[in-house]
């Protein structure tokens, strides 16, 4: 067995003739990513708005002037005013408060359904892409079948079978997005799997598990992150659609989709009733989409090289 000498015993290793990197600050990759993102104004603004929306959803009870179902029959369908900035609905409830309280519902359904799709879909895509052969065939055929159903129809079918309610809406939207995450992940993994550094790690004895978790997944992640952001947009929209169809959260819980559905009937007398929850949906969906686009630009390796001058 060869025994490497200790540094002291090393017969004076020749000094490196090439200049070593100068003392540039060592920055972790995620900070670099954040820095690049900050230089993309659209994405940066979207991120800030989304953070605000999330904060609103988290502190909804503190922020909302009224409770969700506080009614004042004397104030039915009042136009926006200082007391009720978004007006009131047909029961005299404060639309502003209900939009704030509905944020939690919409975001919870959006985040949880996308989290479900992300975990399950990414796992399937990882296994299919990394192992290939019959594992790939079986898993991806399954995904094709799932993907062949129109998304809304599939969600409706799931809710029809399992009953309406937020939990089933989450499951329905989540299942719809599983094949998308599986495909995106698999495509990305197929490229990374062939990288020399993966073979190099294998050559020093790394196990499949180690290759997947330490090398393949981190390097395959960018498209998955972008997909997550874009899917969040669609999930919020899907939650609204399901609620609108009466398949998601149920009255009188505050939900943007439900408010949109109920406000629609009063659109001529009280435009604010439907417009403000609608705006909330549009802004959230738009921000997730724009953030996704920004992330795509930043995380795309070639783009990254262009912008930061760093290889790969």
């Amino acid at each position: 067995m060869t025994q490497l000498p200790t540094p002291g015993a090393t017969p004076a290793a020749p000094p490196p003739a090439e200049p070593l990197p100068t003392a540039a600050p060592v920055r972790p990759r995620w900070r670099e990513t954040l820095g690049l993102l900050a230089r993309n104004p659209t994405a940066a603004v979207s991120a800030v708005v989304l953070v605000l929306i999330v904060l609103v959803a988290v502190f909804d009870e503190t922020l909302a002037p009224d409770g969700p179902n506080e009614q004042d029959p004397s104030l039915q369908l009042q136009p926006p005013s200082w007391a009720h900035p978004f007006g009131t609905d047909e029961f005299g409830r404060d639309v502003f408060s209900r939009v704030i309280l509905g944020a939690a519902t919409s975001l919870r359904v959006g985040f949880l359904s996308v989290a479900f799709a992300l975990v399950v879909g990414t796992l399937i895509g990882l296994l299919a892409g990394f192992y290939g052969t019959w594992v790939d065939d079986v898993l991806m055929r399954l995904m094709d079948v799932l993907f062949a159903f129109p998304a809304v129809l599939l969600a409706i079918a799931i809710v029809a079978i399992r009953g309406a309610g937020p939990a089933n809406a989450i499951l329905a939207i989540g299942i719809v997005y599983v094949p998308i995450f599986a495909r995106v992940t698999r495509a990305s993994v197929l490229g990374v799997r062939e990288e020399v550094y993966v073979r190099a790690s294998r050559s020093v004895g790394a196990s499949d598990w180690r290759l997947i978790t330490r090398h393949v997944l981190p390097n395959a992640a960018p498209p998955i992150i972008v997909q997550t952001s874009v899917s969040l947009a669609f999930a919020v929209l899907a939650e609204a659609a399901l609620s609108f169809l009466g398949l998601g959260p149920r009255r009188p819980d505050p939900s943007w989709g439900l408010m949109l559905a109920d406000g629609r009937g009063f659109i001529e007398q009280a435009w604010w009733y439907a417009v403000f929850p609608g705006l909330a949906i549009v802004v959230t969906v738009l921000c997730f989409n724009l953030l996704g686009d920004g992330l795509r630009d930043v995380l795309d390796p070639r783009q990254r090289t262009l912008m930061a001058g760093s290889g790969r």
């Binding site: 067995m1 060869t2 025994q3 490497l4 000498p5 200790t6 540094p7 090393t10 017969p11 290793a13 020749p14 000094p15 490196p16 003739a17 090439e18 070593l20 990197p21 540039a24 060592v26 990759r29 990288e195 020399v196 550094y197 073979r199 190099a200 790690s201 294998r202 050559s203 020093v204 004895g205 790394a206 196990s207 180690r210 330490r214 090398h215 981190p218 390097n219 760093s310 290889g311 790969r312």
Partner: protein, 365 residues
């Protein structure tokens, strides 16, 4: 193929009849196998403990595949590989992991062989973690420092990412990783080919120093015979998936015994201008045949300037040639030895080629 002569040499890695055939599949959904790409096709090769064996041949002749197959990084489809007496092809998980510790690889492209998302320290300490060497964070950090110093890098670079380094520095990181498990055997697959010319010599010198210092056995793969002959103890020449000539570096370079080796050498410019002027270039006819359609008999016959009757009919085996001990070549010019194409037995009656050995074989000398 065994090296004759004084005392059996100490063999560390050995291949016998080694084959790596990649299936060629039809494009359709059924993916039927329609043929085989014979990347490595019956290789017999011994690597002696402590030596540097140069493996040369044109691009696509199967050098990388052979190097990978010796370490079971691609699965052989036939033949055997032994490492220090152990059967590599039949190894289980644990044995394979130990093989991966004892045998490392340095890759051609240092821009592709380091994970861009891992620091130098993470890359170099991966073998330590995998094999449970130098347990504990502190011990590993110390060991990584030691390894970086060993390859001539400042240990302070441990926290940096690969994109901050030049090609030569990255290759040093790659070498440090390959050495982390204290291997006996290192496959250097075109390890300096993609570096700047000025850096090539430095990395080459590093590898030679490490070999002496650590008693490594090196398989040095290159498409460039001139790059290999000064660093190698022995040279193996590969053509279309087969090792066709092996011998001491000086003998192979000075007195090549196989027409293909002579052609390879004749393409090498000589240092002295006068020698260079008198150098005879043997220009090979035609292109290298596809490894999916290997010619019958001698696989070099479609381009060989010396081709004669038995060449299409008998697949030549390696046989002792020249005057240097351990010099072998697969060519009928030295006597027709090998497997007849029609599949009957082996070693047909030797029929001396028409006035070959004396005049024809001494080449550029």
């Amino acid at each position: 193929m065994t090296a004759p002569g004084e005392g059996a040499p100490d063999v560390l890695v050995s291949a016998r009849g080694l084959e790596v055939h990649f299936p060629i599949r039809s494009g359709g959904a059924l993916r039927r196998t329609t043929g085989a790409l014979r990347a490595v096709d019956g290789v017999d090769l011994d690597v002696y403990r402590g030596e540097t064996l140069g493996l040369v041949g044109e691009s696509g002749c199967g050098k990388s595949t052979l190097g990978n197959a010796l370490l079971r990084l691609v699965p052989p489809t036939g033949g055997t590989v032994t490492f220090d007496g152990l059967d590599v092809t039949g190894m289980g998980r644990r044995q394979l992991r130990e093989l991966r510790r004892r045998a490392g690889m340095v890759f051609q492209d240092p821009f592709a062989s380091l994970d861009p998302r891992r620091t130098v320290a993470q890359t170099v300490s991966e073998p330590l973690e995998v094999h449970g060497l130098h347990p504990g964070r502190q011990a590993r950090v110390a060991r990584v420092r030691e390894l970086l110093e060993l390859v001539g890098l400042d240990p302070a670079v441990a926290a940096r990412y690969p994109h901050e380094f030049s090609g030569g520095q990255r290759q040093r990181v790659g070498i440090a990783r390959a050495l982390a498990g204290e291997p006996d055997f290192l496959v250097c697959d075109e390890a300096i080919a993609s570096l700047d010319v000025s850096v090539q010599a430095q990395v080459l010198n590093l590898l030679r120093r490490l070999q002496r210092q650590l008693g490594l056995t090196l398989l040095f793969i290159s498409h460039d015979l001139s790059a290999v002959r000064h660093v190698s103890d022995r040279i193996a020449v590969m053509y279309l998936g087969r090792v066709v000539e092996v011998g001491p570096a000086a003998a192979v370079a000075a007195a090549p015994q196989m027409p293909y080796t002579r052609a390879l050498l004749s393409a090498v410019p000589l240092p002295h201008p006068e020698l260079e002027r008198s150098r005879q270039r043997i220009v090979l006819r035609g292109d290298v045949p596809s490894p999916s359609r290997v010619p019958s008999g001698c696989r070099f016959r479609t381009r060989c300037p010396d081709v004669f009757e038995p060449c299409p009919d008998v697949d030549p085996a390696l046989q002792p040639v020249g005057s240097a001990p351990g010099h072998v070549a697969a060519c009928h010019l030295h006597g027709v030895v090998g497997t007849p194409v029609d599949g009957s037995g082996s070693t047909p009656a030797a029929s001396g080629p028409p006035g070959a050995t004396a005049s024809g074989v001494r080449g550029t000398g």
